[in-house]
Symmetry: C2
Subunit: 407 residues, 2 copies
């Protein structure tokens, strides 16, 4: 080995930390553990049976073309099918605005890559999706957290933050938001809040990165218009994915963004992986054209809806009064706030002993706060396990209550 390998690694490599969740998930792999920790879609939601015929037809009709390289921007027909879904919602967009990525994680990575220099500021919610924060931090971003309320990122505190940065002569590279059923909180921004944040982006001349992995998985309430649509002024870059509405094992995501931004993303993607696998993109085309997409999505929504209901019912039944949690209208996660004196990491180790697992909420807080919070996933675990798991978790929390503690 060379004499100073450690000193040979780049600044980016040194910025890039192993995901805290990854370490937590390793502890939860014992099959006896009921785990609410992961962020996995339910395998029951995957259209396994439909794929055999779709692949078979595709190979028969298209032959070798499905095994060849394709354009860096993605297979044109898939881009058109995705655009059509947005256009049907009334959104103005064309091929220049649509790039296929290798999962929306690659979208996050490429957005970081084309915008962030070492030391640049990126604004995110407190808390926010760890994979987004990590991707931006890898390129040297200093994350500036803005607290959330029950409507998502606080517009008032966002303005305070933007003004504070402006006073210091700092212009953030972008504001990172997950407007629908946010990971980790499950909170959805109403249109009014989206408009407030867009107005601030205009006022302070800043881009918005809108991450939408869960948007289509809505159980109830009114779908909210995307910030991309509400802005309609090239301030918003939206990331989408099939991972939660088709299958994560295909790694198909997309960027719906301004033409000038997408041009840079394509160049960055070309050196990142040349193109997303043609084979899976072609399967996605067959799947969308078969009409099964909508049927299976409804099945997925129904499944997660029912799992969320069971989870909330059990929590209502067993959790002590001083524990609070969100009631998401969709998505895959809910978020618990424990009494302030409780440390979720301490609780995590006790929970593992009792064979139940979760992710400590603090990993989603770029400032390390949120030590009394917990993220629970409700999409993966079946009802029987969920019921047993929530009971175990409630028992553990109750045992942590202070003598005579009331809320």
């Amino acid at each position: 080995m060379i004499s100073d390998l450690k000193g040979t690694f780049s600044q980016i490599s040194n910025n890039n930390k192993r995901s805290a969740i990854r370490e937590i998930l390793k502890l939860t792999q014992n099959p006896e553990i009921i785990s609410f920790a992961g962020g996995l879609p339910a395998p029951e939601s995957f259209p396994v049976d439909a794929l055999d015929k779709i692949v078979s037809d595709m190979l028969c009709e298209e032959g070798a073309a499905v095994l060849q390289y394709d354009a860096t921007e993605g297979v044109t027909e898939l881009r058109e099918l995705l655009l059509k879904k947005y256009q049907d919602e009334g959104i103005q967009c064309s091929l220049d605005n649509m790039i296929i990525t290798t999962g929306s994680q690659q979208g996050l990575d490429l957005v970081g890559k084309i915008f962030v220099n070492q030391g640049d500021v990126v604004i995110c919610g407190l808390p926010s999706y760890l994979g987004g924060i990590g991707a931006f931090q890898a390129y040297g971003a200093t994350m500036a957290g803005v607290p959330m309320d029950e409507q998502g990122m606080s517009a008032e505190l966002l303005e305070t933050k933007l003004e504070e940065l402006k006073q210091q002569g700092i212009k953030p590279k972008f504001i990172y938001v997950i407007p629908d059923f946010q990971n980790p909180t499950g909170i959805t921004m109403p249109e009014s809040r989206r408009l407030e944040i867009i107005a601030l982006a205009h006022k302070y001349d800043v881009l918005i990165v809108e991450d939408c992995p869960y948007r289509e998985v809505r159980f109830e309430g009114k779908p909210q218009r995307m910030m991309y649509e509400l802005d309609n002024n090239d301030h918003v870059i939206t990331l989408g994915t099939f991972s939660k509405i088709f299958a994560p094992g295909f790694r198909i995501g997309w960027v719906l963004g301004p033409k000038d931004v997408n041009e840079k993303i394509v160049i960055a993607k070309q050196s990142a992986d040349l193109c997303t696998p043609t084979f899976v993109q072609k399967i996605a085309i067959g799947y969308m054209k078969s009409g099964l997409f909508e049927t299976n999505l409804q099945k997925t929504i129904d499944l997660y809806h029912q799992r969320r209901d069971v989870m909330l019912a059990e929590m209502d039944k067993h959790m002590p009064d001083c524990v609070k949690w969100t009631r998401p209208e969709g998505g895959m996660f809910l978020f618990i706030t424990l009494p302030e004196h409780m440390d979720a990491l301490d609780l995590f180790h006790k929970a593992i002993e009792k064979k139940v697992a979760f992710v400590t909420g603090n990993v989603f807080y770029c400032d390390g706060s949120g030590t009394n919070t917990i993220r629970l996933n409700f999409s993966y675990v079946n009802n029987e396990k969920a019921i047993a798991g929530i009971q175990r978790l409630a028992d553990i929390i109750k045992a942590e209550m202070l003598v005579g503690e009331t809320c």
Copy 2:
């Protein structure tokens, strides 16, 4: 749009240039043009017929697991199968040394990402694969070119370069080599040259990145041991891929590297795309286990061998004496050196008019030299077209000869 989008892009984005080949390829898309320009495997080499059953069996036996996220390092069974191939060659390696990537282009990108800071020096052959140079330059690499002779990168000139850099207090991050049937020249390094370069890497305390996309596609001559094996001292990071020996549309590559390097690559890959698509990795497992891999590889080798022979025979027949070219023992490319007064770009435009296309060699020279060179691909075009194309090309070159020019 924000007021200064251009000023908002990162240093990396500004480093990252649109591929020159990409622009050239756009000009060659007219179906009447016989194009030796691309770097595409022959679609006839793809095992289309075998895949229907492999996918069907896979869905039946594994069900939803093939559609779920999998480990960032890659699906364990695929890593084991690849390791076994190397172990069968006598190479020492274990799971810690093997990571699946989304094509070997991702391997190049991640190597750049974990090692290169703005201004760092990376050494490469003059000429070298553009996608490698581009990936490293994106992270700010200053490429230092070392001329090649008929045995690949010159060891003597490499030492001169390393010594020159040392005098300036500069340690390059790594030496980038493509030892087998190099892109663009088709040249293979004999073992003696590999050992000389490894000795220099040891002497100057520098890593080697060994890019092996074509190694298995050998028509004749003795397979050369990989530099990874010859070194056996953690100085070499090897990149492999299925793109030329199975199907590029799966985007499956791998890194065979020292444990300490691979640990950093996994972390970087996690924020890049979480994991390579599970679905295509599982297909690759089924394909390798079916035994079809070896049969189809031999078919591919035979096809390219025969295409190379036709191409060389036509060139021998039609090219004027003062034109020189390589005679590759494998791979997909050969490289032409024209008389010095000829400009390949000028020739390219004339060739497009005559409906034949190639890539100008200078795009592979990090110092912009090689303006009288041409890369020809021989894997994609069928014999009939190759014969017509080479005749057209020879005619164009002959028309450029100076009056009374002899060689």
